[in-house]
Symmetry: C2
């Protein structure tokens, strides 16, 4: 039986802060699918990964409320937003969690640093279908309208089919014009890394400080089954993502360690 729009509760969050363009677009599209609770921080939380706030108190201010939606502003990270919503702010468990639309891609290993995906992984750990959306542009003038149709199609699919236990989706969208997308591709996470160059400067009282800068290094630019390849060839990339980081294919390699016997040192 298909759930009615009015019965459905959707939690919307992000890591670029409450005023970001991508969040507004996602919020508007999600209203087509159910009642929406939107929660985000005042300031940006990019690169916060799955950080949680344990040593400081969290705040959540109800900034707007209608029959169809609520908007909360917090001082928390994206993962905090999901935890706080599920445990304290919402009347019931949400049917779907969406995060984004992020300013900049979260493909390849960027998923590990991403606050956007931190919220998604947290939702997944709670057993809630969770999807992260990112646009492959860091420009503050980026046009998010290209995201609208893919977001609709993927959300519709997930609402109809749910997601396997322990699996969430990491969706990245090329910064093209609406109508120019080649299609969608189900991909694996590309292997690569960020190569940092720290800009070293000296402050007015003579102490050094460093600014983090970096460029992404794709280890396999020609691998057609990767998210990086899809994105750079005009496709929306969809990576089904697990929360289990076990390297299953390497478990046997370490069996030798099990023969260890503790030397009595006590």
């Amino acid at each position: 039986m298909v759930q009615q729009v009015a019965e459905r509760l959707i939690l919307v969050t992000n890591d670029d802060g409450i005023d970001s363009q991508g969040l507004k677009v996602l919020f508007e599209v999600m209203k087509e699918f159910g009642k929406v609770v939107m929660i985000s921080s005042k300031e940006g939380m990019s690169g916060k990964s799955m950080a949680i706030t344990a040593v400081n108190p969290l705040r959540a201010h109800l900034a707007e409320e209608t029959d169809d939606y609520k908007v909360y502003v917090t001082n928390g990270t994206p993962t905090d937003c999901v935890k706080l919503s599920i445990n304290s702010l919402l009347d019931k468990k949400p049917d779907l969690i969406v995060s984004g639309i992020n300013q900049g891609a979260n493909s390849s290993v960027s998923v590990l640093y991403s606050g956007t995906m931190g919220a998604v992984i947290e939702g997944c750990l709670y057993g809630i279908p969770s999807i992260g959306f990112s646009l492959d542009s860091y420009s503050s003038k980026a046009d998010y309208s290209v995201c609208i149709e893919p977001v609709r199609a993927i959300v519709r699919h997930v609402l109809n089919n749910s997601l396997p236990k322990g699996v969430c989706l990491n969706v990245n969208i090329p910064a093209l014009k609406a109508g120019e997308l080649k299609g969608m591709k189900v991909c694996r996470q590309s292997t690569g890394n960020w190569e940092e160059e720290f800009v070293k400067r000296t402050d007015p009282i003579g102490k050094d400080y460093y600014w983090l800068t970096g460029k992404y290094n794709n280890h396999e630019p020609n691998a057609e089954d990767t998210d990086e390849w899809a994105l750079s060839h005009g496709y929306v990339s969809i990576v089904p993502q697990t929360v289990d980081m076990t390297a299953f294919s390497h478990l046997d390699k370490f069996k030798e360690l099990e023969s260890y016997e503790e030397r009595k040192i006590g």
Copy 2:
């Protein structure tokens, strides 16, 4: 050819801050294996996951230096510590990165939130053998001596055999007395989640705030191949961990989405 101790460079970091007991123990043991650079933050960075510092400048103060080791104190997260060390502070790439010994276990899904493991994953992305160590006790009076022999054995194994590309180790040690360990077990990450209860309070000017508290909910307490089972039965758990979060066994489930054709909305 076995590398000489004097030629070997080991980077030591953690997420509990520079003054933590577990870091000191790890630092002392690592000196047996090579020259050591230790870097950590003044304040604790627990629960920082793979968070990076992009909007603020990083500082690194050389607090101590001998022929055999250096100690840096930073304002960065554990992941920042690894990035900054490799790119700006160290003369050469380290041969090994160890992180910990954390106060409290990082087994099961805690690995996702852990700053200790954030440093380890970062090291792994740089292609450097990287190991995280945690003691299963949150007590500030915990006795880390039980960790010394397992740390030695695992470090020796990794220095002799290296680690597969894209694989790091997450090691958790039961809070027993030295000599009481049953052995070591190679495990998979247990499935579970943290169930939060936010303590809601009202501040003196009448505004609500929330404290994050939680308890771990093990979804499979009887699964003998998991890290949680090993830990609770007196074994050191060793989880070989991947940095690739693709849910490979579920790629086919989403192929239907590839038949999507963008409606012309531009």
